[in-house]
């Protein structure tokens, strides 16, 4: 390398060192600020939890009905009465019962929801539609299958129906998103109607947010009740559904 090249190299390196020296105090300040911010967020979260816990502790204990599996191999749910400090505020109350449902029964085999699932948020709209937003684990850890997915949904819907009378419908989100199914089978695109006879066995999906009208959607004269007309199938099939 020529002596001129060496001079340029040394000058360049010196410039880099100078720039680094100037930038370093700013970088240090920024790192400290970020660290302080992180601590504040953790501190805020801790404070919120303590506030919730102390608020809950201040609430009078009441009997809550939670729906867990009747038997490890059973498809049915049974109500279990648990004494909890329950808020009069429907949103807080819903969070309290859902978090207890997620915590699970004494016998872990009777769980209906995965142990690693969390309730991220809960909203109650003025028309009685509840939006329960769960962590992704609800979808990924619920065993895939119609039986297990329906049991999970039913336990959520029936627990809300039994403890929060303001809830008329329940919409389940996964990590803030609408998803087509819970784990491949049960429909989560429509809200589930509560406070109806259907909820006592299986939560029925609604459509367009309208309250369920039991039996309204079934054909008025089901063919099954008119076997005498069997030999004459209708010439007019129903109109083809319109795919969105």
């Amino acid at each position: 390398m020529s002596s001129q090249g060496r001079v340029w190299l040394i000058t360049g390196l010196a410039g880099v060192v100078l720039l680094a020296a100037i930038y370093f105090p700013f970088l240090r300040k920024r790192v400290r600020r970020e660290a302080r911010g992180g601590q504040q967020t953790e501190e805020q979260a801790r404070r919120e939890l303590i506030q919730q816990a102390s608020a809950a502790a201040a609430e009078p204990k009441a009997k809550a009905k939670l729906f867990w599996a009747a038997d490890p191999d059973d498809t049915s749910l049974i109500p279990v009465t648990v004494e909890l400090p329950l808020s009069n505020d429907p949103v807080l109350r819903a969070k309290q019962v859902l978090n207890t449902l997620l915590a699970g029964p004494v016998d872990a085999e009777l769980r209906t929801l995965p142990s690693d699932a969390e309730l991220l948020a809960f909203y109650l709209l003025p028309d009685g539609t509840a939006i329960a937003d769960f962590s992704e684990n609800l979808a990924t850890s619920t065993p895939s299958g119609i039986q297990s997915e329906q049991l999970a949904v039913d336990s959520i819907v029936r627990t809300l129906a039994a403890n929060v009378p303001q809830v008329q419908r329940v919409r389940i989100l996964i990590h803030g998103q609408e998803v087509e199914t819970l784990a491949g089978h049960v429909d989560l695109m429509e809200p589930f109607v509560v406070n109806t006879p259907a909820v006592s066995s299986t939560s029925a999906p609604a459509t367009n947010g309208t309250p369920e009208q039991p039996g309204a959607a079934a054909p008025a004269t089901p063919a099954a009740q008119q076997p005498q007309t069997q030999a004459k199938p209708s010439a007019e099939p129903p109109a083809t559904p319109q795919k969105p």
């Binding site: 297990s148 939560s203 459509t207 099954a224």
Partner: protein, 180 residues
Amino acid sequence: MRESDIVLDLAAQVRHSLESQGFQVVQTRTGNDNPSLDDRSGMANAQRGAVFVTLHVSSTGPPGTVRTYAMSDLAAPPANSGLIPWEFAQAPYLGLSHKLADEVQKQLALQFKGSPNATQLAAVRQLRTTAAPAIAVEISSVLIQDRADLDRMMPAVAEAIARGVAIFRPYYVTPSQVQP
């Protein structure tokens, strides 16, 4: 064990049993492709006078049992415009679907001890958009250690489904319109 592989084998046996009863069978998949739920419904909705059977193997439930599901009740479509909205496709067929499920489950309960005698209701996404009598049949369970146990169940499951569909056949009168 993968559910999709087991189901494909079961579907082949169900097909054979249904064809033996004189039915024409269209499968929504014959290989490891994975059509969307809407595409599967679309295939079924393009048929006339069809019934729709979706097959599943669960990872829960007492091993060696089988359950038949029909769609739980749907609310009425918003207005009768002559066209059925896609998400209401199953609504006019709910009564027929329950009848079909009842007949199939009766046959399955005879074959598999511990299976429920009655149809189960569930919000099965696949059934919602199907414009035909539609049921889901779910076997327990994919967690059986030895796949041979599931394989042994398949011929009887297939036969029971085919017998149930054959018994249902005389009751199948296509609903002419959506009831408000």
